[in-house]
Symmetry: C2
DNA sequence: GCAAAAGTGTTACTAGTACACCCATGC
DNA sequence: GCATGGGTGTACTAGTAACACTTTTGC
């Protein structure tokens, strides 16, 4: 069964998102070789015959962020024939979520250029990665109505307006501030830390953290 | 990039479900060669370098059921190293849904043995296909709360108790019959055909069909 | 006539929505 | 003191959940 007509390569791609205050961002790296030299792409790597795709994704995370464990979830596999001009490469896209505090642990001094881009302001992307990000973003929107996903982005020291803005912007939605607060508070899953957001403009917002035992609850 | 350490094979697997009255069933085929000779497995086929996985799945559907188009959706990609004892094969699982009437179009006189099994009464399965079916089944449960998925299984000539039983059994749920009826009828998406279910025991049930323009609505 | 399954309405309760003013801070 | 953004309560509406009896058929 190792016939040439069936041989192909598999690559893991990581669409990792973080919440920088009220803004969702995705991690991209800049390609230094052709094809698509100078373009930005999702972090990725070819899967070896002796590793699973999950191993491969873990290695990408460790290599790019210096973190050993992280919430990830397989999203979709892309098999368009010519998506890679060099050879037949099928891509398996994973969604990752990381909170801003954990993100501070990231390694620096890397040879490769990488950057977090706001999801509504992406640079020129190589391959089919724009399509992949758009689809992942849409899916992320529906997932962010679930408390456990929100918790991955905002485990602690978040403000309610932050969460509200992330959700309303990705879903293109208007939610009444009072009703949103009531909803989250009524679920009895967050608590005040007693601290306040270091003030920008206006009245400082209260900081909250999620409680430990969170059930699988949708907020809408 | 055609190095040996990256070469692998990809297979499409089809988990296709139908509703036989109030019972969900999945299509399996019997293996006639080793490994797992005599075991039942999901229909599947190796992906060629010049076809997409979607092409591959379409071919499986045409080969097994004689149908050219069908609702399918990619679910998950499995890459455990030794899931296939012969070589490194990564599997991409697709969910398919087919209604009983369309199913009557299927080809007969096949060389391969194939059969629809109730999802709660499966035979001995080869490879990791039991895991795959179980995961697909769980996912299908959550999807069947959406009208469009239900419609794929029951486009017309269904009874309300049939739909209710399929949903309550896969979700392991109790729903009040009166409230369930009210909910579906209130959505204004089904209409009576005027006919009745050819009676078994008890009072014959009214037959319904879905209206043409159905929005993307969740019933729960 | 009895067993089996389908059909039907009302009430109480819960959740969702709409809405406007005051508060704490920076400048 | 004014601009900015955050925090708070109430009244109304809609949705959900609980609940028991009657109808039609086969045997």
């Amino acid at each position: 069964m190792a016939l040439k007509e069936y041989n192909m390569q598999l690559e893991g791609l990581l669409s990792i998102f973080t919440a920088d205050k009220s803004q969702l961002k995705v991690l991209l790296v800049r390609k230094t070789t052709d094809p698509y030299k100078g373009y930005w792409v999702l972090p990725g790597d070819m899967v070896k015959v002796d590793e699973t795709i999950e191993d491969n994704i873990s290695n990408i995370i460790y290599d790019k962020l210096g973190i050993k464990s992280l919430y990830v979830e397989q999203i979709h596999t892309y098999s368009t024939i010519d998506r890679n001009p060099d050879s037949r490469v099928v891509a398996v896209n994973y969604l990752g979520l990381i909170d801003p505090v954990t993100l501070l642990l990231k390694k620096e001094d890397r040879e490769i250029e990488m950057e977090w881009f706001p999801i509504n302001d992406l640079p020129k992307l190589g391959y089919d990665h724009l399509d992949i990000i758009e689809k992942t973003k849409t899916l992320l929107g529906s997932k962010l109505l679930n408390i456990n996903y929100i918790k991955n982005l905002f485990p602690a020291d978040f403000t309610l307006p932050e969460i509200e803005k992330v959700i309303t912007s990705i879903l293109n939605l208007n939610i009444d501030r009072r009703n949103f607060r009531k909803r989250l508070l009524k679920l009895n899953i967050i608590e005040e830390t007693g601290e306040y957001e270091p003030s920008g403009n206006g009245r400082p917002a209260k900081l909250y953290r999620f409680k430990d035992d969170i059930k699988d609850i949708n907020i809408y």
